[in-house]
């Protein structure tokens, strides 16, 4: 089974700092593989282990994305394709999906494309479905359980109202949620071996055709939001603290 897994190198939001004007300092900010993608990689590797075949890690991002690729390779990726996109030219979600789909098409026959439900930094949840559209494959979203057998895929999809059991023919694109599996921790040896595995670099220019969708998307501003919370600690015994809390909530008019 030829499996593609899509990963994204995301800004580590816990480490992200703002400048004095409240804008995030993205240049040189710490990045890592988007944590939801660990479940995507785990699922791809699991499917490879039970069906045989290869796992090709595909990403779009700047030079820093090599780190995320290596993390995915250490978990069991066979090889990797890196569509190079440095920040000023980085495309929006539709453009990203366009390039990822073009890169996937160059890989020959692909049976399954795995991604996660969204990226930890933007959480738009759009790219997986859009890649499926560009590849003209069925899309099974928010899978908490994935089974593949005899050219078919079956998923349990978690949604607000419960669970749906979905079925489609392969090839297909599936997005997994964290309940789907427990990501493995690679051993030191796997990390070292991953560092030597081949990564193919592709430029956006070599993939871009006349059919590229220009959406005019632009980020106008990103500014720190003030939390503005009172942060009052109420002390004393559980009974005293409870009394103080109820008094405070009555003053706030929320009881």
């Amino acid at each position: 089974m030829n499996i593609v897994v899509l990963v994204k190198s995301a800004v580590d939001e816990a480490e992200l700092r703002a400048d004095t004007a409240g804008h995030p300092v993205l240049k040189g900010a710490a990045t890592k593989m988007s944590n939801f993608d660990m479940n995507g990689v785990e699922e791809a590797v699991k499917q490879k282990e039970s069906n045989g075949g290869t796992v090709i890690v595909v990403t779009l991002g700047g030079a820093e994305a090599k780190k995320a690729i290596k993390e995915a390779m250490a978990m069991g990726g066979t090889r990797a394709v890196h569509v190079l996109a440095e920040p000023p030219d980085a495309p929006d979600s539709l453009g990203t999906a366009y390039f990822l789909a073009k890169a996937i098409k160059r890989l020959g026959e692909v049976d399954l494309v795995v991604c996660s439900e969204g990226a930890s930094d933007t959480y738009q949840g759009q790219v997986g479905a859009m890649v499926a559209e560009f590849l003209d494959m069925p899309f099974l979203a928010y899978a908490k359980k994935v089974e593949t057998e005899a050219g078919r895929i079956k998923c349990e999809q978690g949604f607000e109202g419960g669970v749906r059991v979905l079925e489609a023919k392969l090839p297909a694109v599936v997005s997994v949620v964290s309940e789907a599996n427990v990501p493995r921790y690679p051993t030191l040896l796997q990390v070292m071996v991953a560092g030597r595995k081949a990564i193919e670099d592709i430029t956006m220019a070599s993939l871009k055709g006349d059919d590229y969708p220009e959406t005019g998307m632009e980020v106008l501003d990103i500014t720190l939001q003030s939390a503005n919370r009172k942060r009052v600690l109420l002390d004393g015994s559980p009974e005293e603290a409870s009394r103080k809390l109820v008094e405070a909530l009555r003053r706030e008019g929320v009881l």
């Binding site: 939001e13 992200l16 703002a18 995030p24 929006d92 539709l94 969204g118 930890s120 930094d121 933007t122 959480y123 738009q124 949840g125 759009q126 997986g128 479905a129 859009m130 559209e133 899309f139 099974l140 979203a141 999809q157 949604f159 607000e160 109202g161 419960g162 669970v163 749906r164 059991v165 979905l166 079925e167 023919k169 949620v177 969708p213 959406t215 005019g216 998307m217 632009e218 980020v219 106008l220 990103i222 720190l224 939001q225 939390a227 919370r229 942060r231 009052v232 600690l233 109420l234 002390d235 015994s237 559980p238 409870s242 009394r243 809390l245 109820v246 909530l249 706030e252 929320v254 009881l255």
Partner: protein, 307 residues
């Protein structure tokens, strides 16, 4: 000229219709709520509504729903497609954008029009930042639950349209509905939310007692619904679950990871109860009690019951 809106959830369809009216009024366009298969009795909107009937059930899968919306968008002068942000809606929005080859904006809290572009205000980086993102129209945008208030009116019905949506590629073999309704949490004025501090499922009775005493709905952080399965997915509050904006949010035994805090920031008053004084939840809370929830919660419940 039209702005069309859609949600598979009748309550949210009213909210996104209100967002549609807002955008349409600036453009001098009509706001049209698209309803698939049948017009929901619960739809509230001061705008128009358009029923689409397909060669099969349109709301059964995202392919059919997207195909129906795309057909409307292509046949009429549609400037924007607004979709309420649910899991189904998120996939429909992505498919509509890909098929129309237009931009897609997500997690909208507020929408405005600026020189032919739709500008959406949204959280970024786990909710620590606020972003303004623009796309040229026509485009697709998603609107978060609670961001707009549905009008208390019934929409004006347009003549129904028939659409052909083609082959069904993803088949729903089975649907297992959970017993609770998500709108409990989304519209609740008060919420008690339980986290990892609870040692076992049975202990959630303490949180439920407190919620009952407060007249609050019960929610949870992701580990309880996902990893432990103690509560349903509809109760999960945070980045990957539901965004809430109650008057009172009481986080019990929740450490306050960024992903959880993203979903509660718009609460009027946040209370945290946690035994770890260093837990990040105290940084985003108005009132905090550092203590063992097994002591504090019963005491607080008793106090509330006594009045």
């Amino acid at each position: 000229m039209e702005v069309i809106t859609y949600s598979e959830d009748a309550g949210l369809a009213g909210e996104v219709a209100a967002a549609g009216l807002d955008v349409a009024s600036v453009l001098g366009a009509d706001a049209v709520a698209v309803e698939l298969d049948e017009v929901s009795a619960g739809l509230r909107s001061a705008g128009k509504a358009l029923l689409l009937k397909g060669d099969r059930t349109l709301e059964e899968d995202t392919d059919s729903a997207a195909a129906a919306i795309v057909e409307v968008a292509k046949a009429r002068d549609v400037r924007a497609v607004l979709v309420a942000e649910t899991k189904f809606g998120t996939v429909v929005a992505a498919k509509v954008a890909a098929r129309l080859r237009v931009g897609s904006l997500g997690m909208g809290k507020r929408l405005r029009v600026d020189e032919g572009r739709l500008v959406l205000e949204r959280d970024a980086y786990g909710g620590k930042y606020l972003a303004q993102v623009a796309a040229k129209m026509p485009c697709v945008a998603m609107v978060q639950a609670g961001a707009y208030k549905a009008a208390d009116a019934r929409p004006q019905l347009l003549d129904a349209l028939s659409v052909n949506v083609g082959d069904q590629r993803v088949v729903t073999v089975e649907t297992r509905k959970s017993h609770r309704v998500e709108s409990d949490i989304k519209s609740a004025p008060r919420i008690v939310s339980a986290g990892r501090g609870f040692a076992k499922k049975e202990d959630l009775a303490l949180a439920q007692d407190l919620a009952n005493a407060l007249g609050a709905a019960l929610g949870c952080s992701r580990p309880l619904s996902s990893d432990l399965g103690w509560m349903g997915e509809e109760a999960h509050i945070g980045l990957t679950g539901v965004y809430v904006h109650p008057q009172l949010y009481m986080a019990v035994g929740i450490s306050g990871q960024l992903q959880h805090v993203a979903g509660i920031k718009d609460s009027k008053v946040i209370v945290a109860i946690n035994k770890d004084a260093q837990a990040p939840i105290f940084q985003v809370a108005d009132y905090g009690i550092v203590g063992d929830l097994y002591d504090v919660v019963p005491a607080l419940t008793r106090f509330l019951r006594q009045g």
